[in-house]
């Protein structure tokens, strides 16, 4: 068992250093890149925190939707194939909900401040 701090806690210190120490000392493009780099660290931290549960839920939905077993990679490829051949369409039971759930889970990691995401997130009762 690895010691504390957790990866997420370590990354938090990296992002904080970039924002509070590096950014103010930089100018122009480098200040911009320091901010972007801090954002990148945040993405990794959120992915570490959120992905295990999100991936498990996505896998379960894909298995039900496709009535098939496999990995996230192979089942997503299968879903794309069935959409392309017209075997699965927007009228297929469960497709729309699955795509929304999956997309919202991605945005929770990538861009939780994206306005279109925030609107849906704020309107959805939170599961605890």
């Amino acid at each position: 068992m690895q010691d504390d701090p957790t990866p997420a806690e370590i990354l938090e210190t990296v992002a904080q250093f970039l924002r509070e120490t590096v950014m103010p000392e930089m100018q122009g493009r480098n200040a911009f890149l320091a901010r972007v780099t801090a954002n990148a660290v945040d993405v990794v931290r959120r992915q570490i925190e959120l992905s295990p549960a999100a991936d498990a839920a996505e896998l379960a939905r894909l298995r039900a939707l496709l009535d098939s077993d496999g990995t996230l990679e192979t089942l997503n490829a299968q879903l794309c194939e069935r959409i392309e051949t017209g075997a699965i369409t927007l009228t297929t039971q469960g497709l729309k909900d699955h795509l929304w759930e999956t997309t919202l889970a991605k945005l929770a990691v990538d861009q939780p401040n994206y306005a279109a995401y925030k609107r849906v997130h704020d309107q959805t009762p939170q599961k605890t």
Binding site: L33, N76, C80, I83, L107, A116, V120
Partner: protein, 333 residues
Amino acid sequence: MSLSEHAFEDGLAAVIRRAVAGADGIANLRRLSGGASQETWAFEAVGPKLSQRLILRRAPGGDRQHEAAAGLETEARLMDLAGKAGIPEPPVIYVLCPEDGIGRGFIVGFVDGETLGRKIVRDAAFADARKGLAFRCGEVLAAIHAIPLDQVPPLRHADAATRLDELHKRYRLSERPRPVFALAFEWLRQRLPKEPPAPRLVHGDFRNGNLIIGPDGLRAVLDWEIAHIGDPIEDLGWLCVGPWRFGGIDNPVGGFGTVDQLLAGYEAGGGGRIDPEQVRFWEVLGSLSWGVSCAAMIQAIRSGVDRTAERAMIARRASENEIDLLNLIAPRS
């Protein structure tokens, strides 16, 4: 400053001494942030009686270009042409040639104003400018689309079917399956225009972020990098694509206006009456196109062409387009 940066600054100073009357050098050269596909540099041409603010647009590292790019020399010609057609453009001062030794690019006059989409959408200073901006964008787009094609330098031709086909090939380059993109491709295929409209000059990147805005409104249209000949409604749809609303999601046109205002301006500018469904088609194609482009950044990262966090973060913006596409083609009930 590195040796190559010194050589660049000296080369640029030499260009300015030749191109700007009364200039004996340059001052305050600095790279402006933003612009992952092209470099933008601000500086001043200076002399005994002169201080003129200028902008250099240059290919990254001097010579790399976007695959669909018209080319910086063509871009400069289009800006000049558009300016003469009454479209607000900065004056083109000089186009770099190989003998200048500082890469490919061109120099334009500095236009004062704001390009940051977030500020244009939110700041009180632009409250008046926002009121008429969607209408004005419609008028200006109609003027761009009215430029006679026989005056336009050679450009690639791409109508809706071609764009969709190219996009699908680019999507296929990525190994990662993306069901939302797959669904959007099907949606678009079923709605391709049966008879493509008469081809026009398409700006290709007319959006909030590429427009210089002052408190008085639109001052300049920038970034003709991916101009082409095609369906003019592409420009109207692209202006509505989600990320260019900068948080103002209830104002589909750049975060500052409505589609009705845009189309009223387009009609007033001589562009004719447009069906909003056509705009939606191009908004979906635009959103998908930006999504595929974001996802494709992984190739620049893995090949080592660009390993900045900026690239990595653009790649992770593909999911923004997925939620926008779902809102367009499969809204939550």
